[in-house]
Symmetry: D2
Subunit: 273 residues, 4 copies
């Protein structure tokens, strides 16, 4: 299956400002990207690329005053299969985890592992079988506990706040699920990228980038999605980190206002190879 | 100058639990450590060492049920000079910072850069000259704003909470100062280690580990200390990270209760070399 | 397409010895691995896992005296398409490469970039159009220059030696091609993994692990294979590094003798999903 | 003790070329640098700084055609003590080493661990007591085996070649010693920096940058110097890596010719503080 992904985003800046960009496909997608993404900037300012400590591909620019817009499009191969299910995946003991994975057990900006959510996690999920079923129980709980509402998005809502407010967008679902996983000693990390409507009824909402998370079970990472809570086809990863603080699509060091925004991720049928 | 540093810490565990330890001198101290630290564990359980993504030396154990105690002592050389002062150190533009430093501009667990502290930072420090004087202005403000009180320590107090509660211990001073620095586009990171009373009147309080922070100015990192707010002699680094969440001395995955605690850092005078 | 990959390898050790293992699928394969690999050790000794600085999944054991065998099998999804071809992929100027990629321009154990191969590279490939065509010219040259001969494998043959001896196995082809690429200022890295006979006539030789390489063109990495020199289907990555010195499948700190060896990578047809 | 270190280096380039620079003090020196180094470039071209995967501070430029010169000077504090001696430092078993240290056991560009030096190492040093005495035995051997001769420097001489040719400069001594250490399962890494004549008779040779190495014993790294083979005062680190291939002071992607070269590292006596 071929999926065309892309976006057009524009900001308005009253004065020049440095920006960090995480607007690329994740390096793990490279070998299955038929038409690589090419970040187009208008006006055309030089981009300095780097990889952050999580392995994400990033860019840096100095945006001039006025409108700054970003456009990108790529054609990616996808096996077209729903998220891998491994219901018997076990949960490693903390002492058996690779050292590099331990950071995904610790508190982070939006995941207050060291809060009242800790006791709550054990009371809610302590009775679930450890491993895959426990992560699934967490997803079920979060899926039902939080009500999705686009109009109630807030850039700095934490897992604890999402738990209390019971409302949020996809990142809030993930932050709460990630926090519960870590509280159950299951490493969990945050993912952001494209997710179209392949295999599900089209959403009436305008498309946005999507968030999901990965849990470390049985020696590897698996994708979970506490918002949709069904296996989905066609996740196209852009960035991974401890939580959304590590993978903001753009970070402006100064004032910028979103002027326009469009994202797409569509199956391409019948393309001649 | 030679400084003897060390500690004795004991925990009580109702049942076996994995623990992460950051109870070592920082690798940057190795070449000036006359008697290296040797972590003694009672009971003697095997320690698996690793370095985390910030370069800190760490250990992992499975602590048995009962009392688990840690003892360490080292003799370190120190030039015996107060913290380096560089009042003319300039502040790099964000676009000129090395990419690896950018992470220290972003929000982290206890440093809510993406909060109301942002506007506050600019209103409080926007008029200070950029660079060293601005970091000093931040330290002055935080030093006066927060009241030190050991009895009001709280393991998960954030910078914003410290700002509102106006009370805390050294880590709270640092988290608030770090957050203000980042809000002023100055990279800042958290440090933990030993700091004795060398060159200052002895403190009446029992000695604890100390926190300070580093700000990136003019192409390198400099130590600052918003609690003491005077140049001090004899900081002996153990760990560095985004904030205290990255450098907890011990992390227990399970229940543990502090049973005893003693830390020392004393100048050794007249030692035969 | 589903591909079943696996191996059975056994060593004979006269006495116990520590071993490093790179016997896992690469983490980038995780989300498309239908039946994850499970490393089986006989005798069953504990494995401590870690990720190396290149992001490869690794294990450490202490192998007892006697026979030590490793068995693994996994079922991976693959889009079933040949290696991505991007004949118009351009070559970035060195000054525009991300900093993290620069290491793949430097000399490494088996790739003597700082040797007479440098002048040779420019004389052989300086007239080829830069970018993809130049990498292809390098592959063509190496493919024709070296004669494949299993019996002439040598664990420490370098690129320069392969150039002179004009004989080798797949790793020698790659080392020479990587060295030429680096000499033309094109970052190149070494890959190891499974490659079955999908889409090509079955090989009469017993199957072995395979080597290929990746070149950095137009902002991303692409797979090349100087030995086969045709786009192939079904590369299943295990490890990546500067050259074969970084991704040895096993490293024994002591004496071990290969006792048996079998690798497979076969398309699975008609599996019920 | 205060040490003034610095250099003036100039190259002649027939045409513009990108360059990598490792011309800074190592970050571990930051907190004891009284007057930080400031890299002056003539002509003044913009420098983009980064840290490499070993933690070294690096710069990137595009040098114009003509003369390109670099000047730097810093004032560093130093405890003024000779290299730390720890004759009872033990040698960890390979299985007890931190995972991040394992890379310093493997072959690298100039350190052919996987060569005939392996058997030689065991025959020469297998009878020495493991740990510190074995590293010292290696230094003694190399110190006597190789004759220092500036005129016989060669940029790509390997440890094996140095062993056979029995002549070289400081980097050759270190590469051979490092290779022997690794062959004895002792992690070893290469260091480059300043080393003046403090405490020893002044050298008649013009001063150059110096090389030394570090061996991992008893849980930490210690400095060794197979060329001088006596504890020295005042090593000021600039870069660390697997071997010299990782820490070239300058790397030009194109043609450059050394036009002038001067290095200094002198104790500053009687400076008003």
């Amino acid at each position: 299956m071929l999926i065309q992904v892309g976006y057009e985003i524009a900001f308005q800046l009253p004065q020049p400002a440095p920006m960090l960009l995480m607007l690329y496909l994740h390096p793990t997608r490279e070998l299955t990207t038929r038409q690589p993404d090419r970040l187009l900037l208008t006006p055309s300012v030089p981009v300095q690329e780097y990889y952050d400590s999580f392995g994400n591909r990033c860019g840096r620019i100095v945006a001039p005053a006025g409108q700054m817009s970003f456009r990108n499009q790529a054609l990616v191969e996808d096996c077209g299969l729903p998220d891998l299910q491994a219901p018997y995946a076990t949960q490693a003991e903390v002492q058996d985890l690779p050292s590099d994975v331990l950071i995904y057990l610790l508190p982070s900006r939006y995941c207050e592992v060291d809060s009242e959510l800790k006791d709550l996690a054990w009371s809610l999920f302590g009775a679930s079988p450890p491993g895959w079923p426990r992560v699934q129980a967490i997803c079920n709980y979060v899926h039902n506990h939080i009500r999705f509402d686009y109009l109630q998005a807030r850039a700095n809502r934490t897992a604890l706040e999402a738990y209390r407010e019971r409302v949020g967008v996809c990142r809030d679902f993930m932050h709460l699920a990630i926090t519960f996983c870590r509280n159950c000693n299951i490493p969990a990390r945050y993912c952001t990228g494209y997710l179209g409507d392949i295999g599900v009824p089209p959403s009436p909402d305008p498309m946005d980038f999507s968030a999901w998370f990965e849990a470390y079970l049985g020696g590897q990472w698996y994708a979970f999605d506490a918002r949709n809570n069904i296996p989905r086809i066609g996740r196209v990863l852009m960035g991974r980190g401890r939580d959304a603080a590590d993978v903001a699509l753009t970070t402006t060091f100064g004032v910028s206002e979103l002027a326009s925004f469009r994202v797409w991720a569509d199956e391409v049928v019948g393309t001649p190879y």
